[in-house]
């Protein structure tokens, strides 16, 4: 009992010390896996050099949705964290509530406007105010392939939809699982957006999924997209539903499956299994989207702590966008830096290619937000789209119904 009381007071004292010290940042995030958490630790140590403490508040789950729930409870109770990891429209939503701090003075001083592409600024900047700082850029329109099977079956790297279907057919005929896929809503949507981009091109994608234009949503092109999803459905094995994406990746690693459509974070799984890019596995853009980069960027939004942006907050924001951290973090995470003015020679081959493509896409208006990952439309619309896509992929709708349902879903949830 005595010991219990003692620890109790110790912890209580710690809590008081924690709140008393002004120069601390409390960071709510969902990076808890080995690599990414370790990468974040780089940031923590950097801040420690400036005597700024880091109070870690990790809440993983559901690709950040769990953390967003916690955030709402925290804000409601008047106990908002200093900085919060966020994606796309969540930032906009919180900015609308007036909960985020204005970082314009640091942005000007550091020249952020010149180094962050306009596509990303749509989210980092709300109503003319910088409210969030991007850490990295993931890209979702990648195909991963098992090289040994491709060689065995004599399949060349496909560059059009028809070639891709032919390659899948060859693989299926040879008795392999042609497409490794996990039947979870976000995975279905990740495939869907790549197919939509390949089928209708960037303009179609933009008007349908970002501008939510009803004509584009209900168009014949959209029906074609659903038809193609149906084609892909035929190349997936029977046990796909509910499978985690990394178990799908494991099917490639174990030479059971040939292709997987997944964002660039899949690379980590291959590397972790001791595979070498170019030798054991290949990565290439989804056929028909070679010029486009569909992005998903992790950002940190800073919450209002009184009228002024605190020193600790500016230090954190500055540190996140510093060239050193951008490189150090993305080397580990498998994504590319959000800043476009860096020397990428420290990244691996896949990373360097990704970085070049990211910069090029940003300049040629081919950098588009991935709606499957919250960078196309608000959460309510996104999830309503998930429902339709998943229902169609599981055979509950035919393509025609799916198109109609998609239009309705957007109407209800706008």
């Amino acid at each position: 009992m005595r010991r219990f009381t003692k620890t109790f007071t110790a912890v209580a004292a710690l809590a008081i010390a924690g709140t008393a010290q002004a120069e601390d940042v409390e960071v709510l995030h969902w990076w808890t896996a080995g690599g990414e958490a370790a990468a974040l630790n780089v940031l923590k140590e950097g801040l420690a050099e400036d005597d700024i403490g880091w109070q870690d508040m990790p809440v993983a789950g559901g690709g950040g949705t769990q953390a967003m729930t916690v955030l709402r409870a925290r804000v409601t109770s008047g106990n908002a964290p200093t900085a919060v990891q966020m994606l796309g429209f969540d930032i906009t939503d919180w900015a609308k509530e007036g909960a985020l701090a204005n970082l314009n003075s640091i942005a000007e001083e550091q020249g952020w406007n010149d180094v962050i592409p306009a596509a990303l600024q749509q989210f980092s900047v709300y109503d003319g105010e910088w409210v969030a700082v991007p850490v990295n850029v993931h890209s979702t329109n990648w195909v991963w392939a098992d090289k040994s099977i491709l060689d065995e079956l004599g399949i060349a790297q496909p560059s059009t939809w028809d070639e891709f279907v032919a390659a899948l057919q060859t693989a299926k005929d040879a008795g392999y699982t042609a497409l490794a896929h996990g039947g979870q809503a976000w995975q279905d949507a990740t495939i869907f957006e790549a197919v939509a981009m390949a089928t209708g091109g960037p303009d179609f994608y933009r008007s349908a999924f970002i501008e939510l234009d009803e004509e584009a949503l209900g168009s014949d092109t959209m029906k074609e997209v659903f038809d193609r999803m149906g084609t892909l459905r035929g190349f997936v094995d029977d046990n796909f539903s509910g499978r985690d994406w990394n178990l799908a990746t494991a099917m490639l690693i174990n030479d059971e499956a040939v292709f997987q459509l997944m964002g660039d974070w899949a690379k980590g799984e291959f590397l972790n299994a001791g595979q070498v890019p170019g030798e054991d596995f290949l990565c290439f853009r989804f056929p028909g989207t070679q010029d486009q980069v569909m992005y998903n960027s992790d950002q940190f939004a800073l919450f209002n702590q009184g009228d002024e942006v605190s020193n600790a907050q500016s230090a954190l924001a500055e540190a996140i966008l510093s060239p050193e951290f951008q490189i150090a973090f993305n080397k580990v995470k498998g994504s590319v830096p959000a800043r476009t003015d860096l020397d990428a020679s420290e990244l691996d081959a896949c990373g360097q290619q990704g970085y070049e493509e990211y910069i090029a896409a940003g300049q040629s208006d081919n950098l588009l937000g991935s709606f499957a990952h919250g960078y196309g439309n608000p959460a309510s619309v996104k999830n309503a789209m998930y429902d339709v896509i998943t229902a169609h992929f599981n055979g509950e709708y035919d393509s025609e119904t799916a198109v109609e349902e998609l239009v309705t879903a957007v109407q209800i949830n706008m």
Binding site: W30, W31, A33, A37, D56, G61, T69, S77
Partner: protein, 307 residues
């Protein structure tokens, strides 16, 4: 575990000695069948644990290369060490270790207070019932059904107003509020079967409210206290939603850490470490089951009835 019932207890099935003249087989056969049935159920309950234990003792490569149901070919306890002290659950690789204390500091007071309140409520509602007490019980009970997702936001606001936001006391308070209904239910329904004459007799002897509770009801409350404590302990220990939402960086309970270990979205999933962590996280609850199980002994009641 002292589980052998005391000698004065009669169970319906075995109370009567077998009539003389039956063969040994006929007397023993029902017992053998009984044990076989019990053993089969043991297998049903243990199967998922088997999957977890087996996979927590394999290297990750063995799991992802298939054979998730088979025994490890290369035994290792590394995942256990990792889950305990070196796995990444935040920016620092601390494992689950530091979070155990947070959880204990929350669970122990919450369970103790809620159980005692429940016992007192049950006592009042059965032995000191008054006009409207049944209605009050009904209202308390219906409160058990309120969905937690629904209370999250208003509760956060209330905790903020009470100055309990992001503190251990706040968490204890929340668990207390939503645990009362159940603890009252258990004790009320248990005490309902308790002979009221005993209480009346003690009242005539001049015993007060608390004396009767302490001397007469409490000593025979063992089995139901076990049920109540198991329920509360398990629920509070395993709660994630409240633990994540109402804690601060320095009071996050174990489930949040376990969830962080397991639910990384775009990172490598170390299933073996996940399973080891899950079993580890359940150990305190298991310990409670085993220790509290001792009080499941029958006969306390019978003794008290005889007075």
């Amino acid at each position: 575990m002292a589980t052998a019932p005391t000698s004065e207890v009669i169970t319906p099935a075995t109370g009567t000695p077998a009539p003389p003249g039956r063969s040994a087989l006929r007397t023993h056969l029902p017992r053998v069948v009984l044990y076989i049935i019990l053993a089969l159920f043991c297998i049903y309950y243990l199967l998922p644990l088997y999957v977890m234990v087996v996979n927590s003792l394999k290297p990750l490569s063995e799991i992802t290369s298939g054979g998730m149901m088979s025994l490890p070919s290369d035994w290792t306890i590394e995942p256990w060490g990792s889950a305990w002290s070196t796995a990444q659950v935040g920016v620092e690789a601390t494992g689950l270790r530091p979070y155990f204390l947070n959880s204990l500091m929350m669970v122990v007071p919450a369970v103790a207070i809620t159980t005692i309140l429940g016992a007192l409520n049950g006592y009042v509602l059965t032995k000191w019932s008054f006009r409207g007490s049944t209605l009050i019980f009904g209202l308390l009970l219906f409160g058990c059904f309120i969905p937690f997702q629904m209370v999250l936001i208003p509760m956060a606001r209330m905790l903020g107003l009470m100055g309990l936001a992001g503190s251990v006391s706040g968490l204890i308070f929340v668990h207390l509020v939503y645990g009362i209904g159940f603890s009252t239910l258990y004790f009320r329904n248990y005490y309902a079967a308790f002979p009221t004459e005993l209480v009346r007799a003690a009242q005539i002897d001049g015993a007060g409210f608390f004396t009767i509770f302490r001397r007469i009801l409490l000593p025979s409350s063992g089995p139901i206290a076990v049920v109540c404590i198991i329920w509360l302990f398990t629920n509070i220990w395993n709660d994630f939603l409240f633990g994540a939402s109402f804690s601060d960086f320095d009071s996050q309970p174990m489930t949040v850490a376990l969830n962080n270990l397991v639910q990384s979205s775009t990172g490598v999933k170390e299933y073996n470490v996940h399973f080891a962590g899950a079993i580890m996280a359940a150990l305190p609850t298991l310990l409670v089951y085993i220790v509290a199980g001792r009080y499941f002994v029958r006969g306390l009641m019978a003794g008290s009835v005889k007075g």
